[in-house]
């Protein structure tokens, strides 16, 4: 298995772990953590392809990862603010109970 394939397998497994965790836990913060893991797995993919991909000389992979990290940070902040709002509303942060958008 080439290093690229190893990296990809690594990132796939990490992604799957994040997904399983997000699905399994009912605590909103843990769900957010799962989502963080998934994002990180995607960033891993970028670096892997940047390192072992067709045109490794351009820095596009790194640039992308930097931007992704920045955006993720913003997203985390917003998400946590939402969690705090939910907590204020229903005194706990169980995700199942926040189903007011039910159709």
């Amino acid at each position: 298995m080439s290093p690229l394939q190893l990296c990809l397998v690594f990132s796939s497994v990490l992604f799957a772990v994040g997904l399983a965790g997000a699905l399994a836990r009912s605590n909103s913060i843990l769900v957010l953590l799962g989502i963080e893991l998934m994002l990180n797995a995607a960033n891993l993919n970028f670096i892997a392809f940047w390192r072992y991909g067709p045109s490794p000389s351009s820095a596009i992979g790194v640039i992308f990862v930097i931007f992704a990290i920045a955006v993720t940070a913003a997203e985390t902040a917003v998400g946590l603010a939402l969690v705090i709002s939910i907590y204020r509303h229903q005194q706990n942060i169980r995700l199942q109970e926040a189903s007011h958008l039910k159709g």
Binding site: F10, A16, L23, N27, E36, V65, V78
Partner: protein, 172 residues
């Protein structure tokens, strides 16, 4: 080389799994921080030093802090930290879903003929990155900057009680 990779992978995945399965929220956050460090180690191993640096700075430095604050702010009592993994069927379905996704991705990876270029580690210097960021990617930089500003202001507004007229100055 591969051995380092495998090691890093194992550590990262291990801490991730542990983080996802802990009852205590604090433990989860801290363990996840370890996972992020592992990711940073991978960046280093792959030669993207600046990315590793950014990862550690932001993830381990800022986001974990935010998470810890959120955890502290949203807990009702010492006892009720986080309910454990969902009973029975939900956890099973979650693991099955994850497994299915992993399986699909891995099989795709294994099948594909990804000819890995055995190239030497590419050298990307910080100055290169800097000139790129100020050059072709300047617009993106600005947009991301605005995005960050807006998002954080919104987060503050939301967290402060939703609709508060004054925006607290000074984004982090």
């Amino acid at each position: 080389m591969n051995a380092v990779l495998v090691l890093i992978a194992l550590v990262t995945v291990g801490t991730a799994v542990a983080a996802m399965s802990r009852r205590s929220l604090l433990h989860s956050v801290l363990l996840l921080t370890g996972s992020w460090t592992g990711v940073a180690a991978f960046y280093l191993w792959a030669g993207a030093e600046f990315a590793a640096f950014a990862q550690v700075l932001i993830y381990v430095g800022a986001i974990s802090m935010a998470l810890l604050f959120a955890v502290l702010l949203t807990r009702r009592s010492r006892v009720d930290l986080a309910p454990g993994p969902a009973p029975g069927s939900r956890a099973l379905y979650a693991i099955l879903a994850g497994g299915a996704v992993a399986g699909v991705l891995v099989s795709a990876v294994a099948r594909g003929s990804l000819a890995a270029a055995r190239s030497p580690t590419p050298a990307v210097t910080v100055s290169q990155l800097g000139s790129l960021l100020m050059g072709p990617y300047a617009a993106t930089l600005l947009v991301v900057g605005v995005l960050l500003t807006v998002a954080l202001i919104g987060a503050v507004v939301l967290a402060a009680g939703g609709g508060g007229p004054e925006k607290p100055g000074g984004a982090p």
